[in-house]
């Protein structure tokens, strides 16, 4: 097991119950099994002026997921032709110089890193979009971003445009679809239901246009577009990974804010205004961030969709929180996509299946399993 984050020595971890003294005397609310206090079972991370409550359970889950992710990456670097023993993989990664450097560091590592980054971005996008849509089934393809990116990519792939233009075109297409959805949904302050309905409408319209383009294209171009639409990591590596990493890095300050702002997204608008929030501005900010992440990652790896749908919901149930936890969703998304890509490479080797097929094959049953296990709760 790995520790989730390197913890600075001066950071004080303290149970809130010790700090929150009841203002009046007598047998007061501190009898809740000695934990929680007003913080509802959370602990408090304090560093200088920063004070962030967190759940130990979330920390443990994040740690386990990170450990599993690193393990999955090592396995992914190890399996294949030729097989490289995990020990050799680690030696090669540490720069010790092994005969497998080419295979491990140049061929397999870029793709594994890409899978992890893309999965994390999908997890983040799904968390944000589901929270704004207040719907556990919302994801980039439900609100049209995937189809917008897909249409632009299909046009680029079938019109003989240069290969380097496909990703930028897809990014613009995804964002254009999102702008359309926002414009349609904005009249009622991007309220959850209207947001989803506008998204579904835009998704269907773009989907139809994709079919038109595919049917009028040369068969070979249509096939390439089809592969793009399913989503695959084959033949991709550092360049795509760098784009996604760059996007996430740019979005990082926004994501830090978003992790906090998501807290208010489960409240209705009147209640939110009552406690001093601006729900509409907040929704647009959160949805916009999610859409940017979704469009950026879809542009690079195609429509590997199931990750964004599954990761937030499964992470939420693992953490037992009332909303999807973003960090855990990102780690779970990364793990899911690394495993899906590995399975796609190896299951029917030498035939490679696109990762997009495998994410659905792995994620679908797992989501069903999780839904069945958490019976009796309203969802």
């Amino acid at each position: 097991m790995t520790t989730p984050t390197p913890t600075p020595r001066d950071l004080a971890l303290s149970a809130p119950a010790k700090q929150t003294k009841p203002s009046s005397s007598g047998p007061q609310p501190q009898d809740r099994r000695g934990r929680g206090g007003a913080l509802a079972g959370k602990a408090l991370l304090r560093v200088g002026p920063v004070a962030v409550p967190f759940r130990w359970r979330a920390v443990v889950v994040a740690g386990v997921l990170l450990g599993l992710l690193l393990g999955a990456v090592v396995v992914s670097l190890s399996l294949g032709t030729p097989y490289v023993a995990p020990g050799d993989v680690l030696r090669s990664l540490s720069g010790a110089g092994t005969p497998y450097d080419l295979v491990v560091r140049d061929l397999r590592l870029p793709r594994a890193v890409l899978a992890a980054l893309a999965g994390a971005a999908f997890g983040v996008a799904g968390t944000l979009i589901q929270s704004v849509a207040r719907n556990p089934l919302a994801s980039p393809d439900v609100i049209g971003v995937t189809q917008g990116a897909g249409l632009a990519a299909t046009i680029a792939l079938t019109s003989g445009a240069a290969a380097v233009l496909v990703a930028p075109a897809a990014l613009l297409g995804g964002l254009a679809a999102a702008v359309l959805v926002f414009a349609l949904g904005a009249r009622h302050g991007l309220a959850a239901q209207r947001f989803v309905l506008a998204g579904v409408a835009v998704a269907f319209a773009f989907r139809a246009l994709i079919e038109v383009v595919m049917l009028t294209a040369e068969p070979i171009d249509g096939l390439r577009a089809q592969l793009w639409l399913i989503g695959t990591l084959a033949g991709k590596g550092w360049t795509e990974a760098a784009w996604i990493a760059g996007t996430l890095a740019v979005l990082l300050p926004v994501l830090l804010w978003a992790g906090w702002a998501l807290r208010g997204s489960a409240l209705d608008d009147d209640t939110a205004r009552g406690i001093g929030l601006r729900p509409v501005a907040r929704r647009i900010g959160l949805a916009g961030t999610g859409v940017l992440a979704a469009a950026a990652v879809t542009a690079q790896v195609g429509a590997v969709d199931f990750v964004a749908l599954v990761a937030p919901q499964v992470a939420r149930r693992l953490v037992r929180a009332e909303r999807p936890p973003m960090l855990c969703a990102a780690l779970l998304g990364a793990l899911l996509l690394v495993l899906a890509d590995l399975a796609g490479r190896r299951l029917f080797a030498p035939t490679q299946l696109p990762a997009g097929v495998l994410t659905a094959a792995i994620g679908g049953p797992y989501l069903i399993f999780v839904l069945l296990r958490t019976r009796g709760r309203r969802s």
Binding site: R33, A40, D270, E322
Partner: protein, 307 residues
């Protein structure tokens, strides 16, 4: 008494329909104000506009003399707590967590919790008597408990004033009384200003220090219930014939609808009650068609407006 919330020439409407037209009202500080009126008279609209949940077409809402729309929403949230009519409970959220949301106006994304937050949340849960439920998910609670949790959330906001839109509507009678008693305690013991929209005239008369009666988007009468709540007012506002008698428990005006279409209940001879075994041992109140009941003293502890 000083006005905490005032409206000046307030015009509010929804898509073409004007609900409030030039409404002028001053709500006193340190009082429990209840707004009553028939359905669609604009009482919720008024409350929601004062809570800045609705934007007026014209006119202004003043909070301590300052136009509320000129104040940052975070600052308003530190002075004015708002409980909407049927707030959505986030799935799976625990009581302590939800009450903690009331601290939002004091928090920033880098400082999401302080000792003061903990103190305020504990205090709010104790006041609303939900401390024992702290770790329970809110969606597993009864309606009355849930409403107390929401009130605790607004209490954690640590505001001088509290606006509540029909806080008793979906509760059974015992829970209605429970919630109203809590609001009364907040006013009496904590000096909070409470403003609520209520449906039940008799509860309004019993708990309010200050009654606002509305009809068709206009204020018909304002004042202490014992002074203004008469059969004439009820006929005027609700279009209902009634008699007003002193409440046998508190002495507050009690509105009893006059005979309408309902069949008469056979008169029960005193002492030989067969159908009703729980007839209170109270001398038959003299029916008065208008005048306020005078001289009926309230038992100790009953919520009666202290002048």
């Amino acid at each position: 008494m000083t006005a905490l919330l005032s409206t000046r020439d307030l015009v509010v409407g929804y898509e073409g329909r004007t609900v409030l037209d030039g409404l002028e009202l001053d709500l006193p500080a340190d009082a429990f104000t209840v707004i009553v009126g028939p359905n669609a008279c604009g009482k919720s609209t008024l409350l929601r506009t004062m809570a800045r949940l609705l934007t007026p077409r014209r006119g202004a809402v003043l909070l301590d003399g300052t136009q509320i729309r000129d104040l940052p929403t975070r600052d308003v949230a530190r002075r004015l707590g708002v409980l909407p009519q049927s707030p959505l409970v986030p799935e799976g959220i625990t009581v302590a967590d939800l009450v903690g949301r009331g601290r939002q106006p004091y928090q920033r994304w880098w400082r999401q919790w302080s000792t003061e937050d903990g103190r305020a949340v504990d205090e709010a849960m104790r006041l609303a008597d939900v401390t024992a439920l702290a770790d329970r998910p809110v969606d597993t609670l009864s309606g009355g408990q849930r409403q107390r949790v929401w009130i605790a959330m607004t209490l954690a906001q640590d505001t001088d004033a509290l606006l509540l839109d029909e806080p008793t509507t979906f509760l059974d009678l015992a829970h209605q009384v429970e919630v109203l008693d809590l609001l009364h305690r907040l006013r009496a013991e904590r000096g909070r200003t409470v403003v609520a929209v209520l449906h039940d005239l008799n509860q309004a008369a019993r708990y309010a220090d200050h009654l606002v009666a509305m009809r068709d988007g206009a204020v018909v009468a304002v004042g202490p219930p014992r002074e203004i709540l008469t059969a004439d007012l009820v006929r005027d506002v609700f279009g209902l014939d009634c008699v007003v008698v002193p409440c046998p428990v508190t002495g507050a005006p009690l509105v009893v609808p006059a005979r309408t279409q309902t069949p008469a209940v056979p008169p029960v001879p005193a002492g030989t009650s067969a159908a009703s075994t729980r007839t209170p041992a109270v001398p038959a109140a003299r029916t008065q068609t208008s005048a306020a009941p005078a001289g009926t003293s309230a038992p100790a502890g009953a919520p009666v407006g202290d002048a």
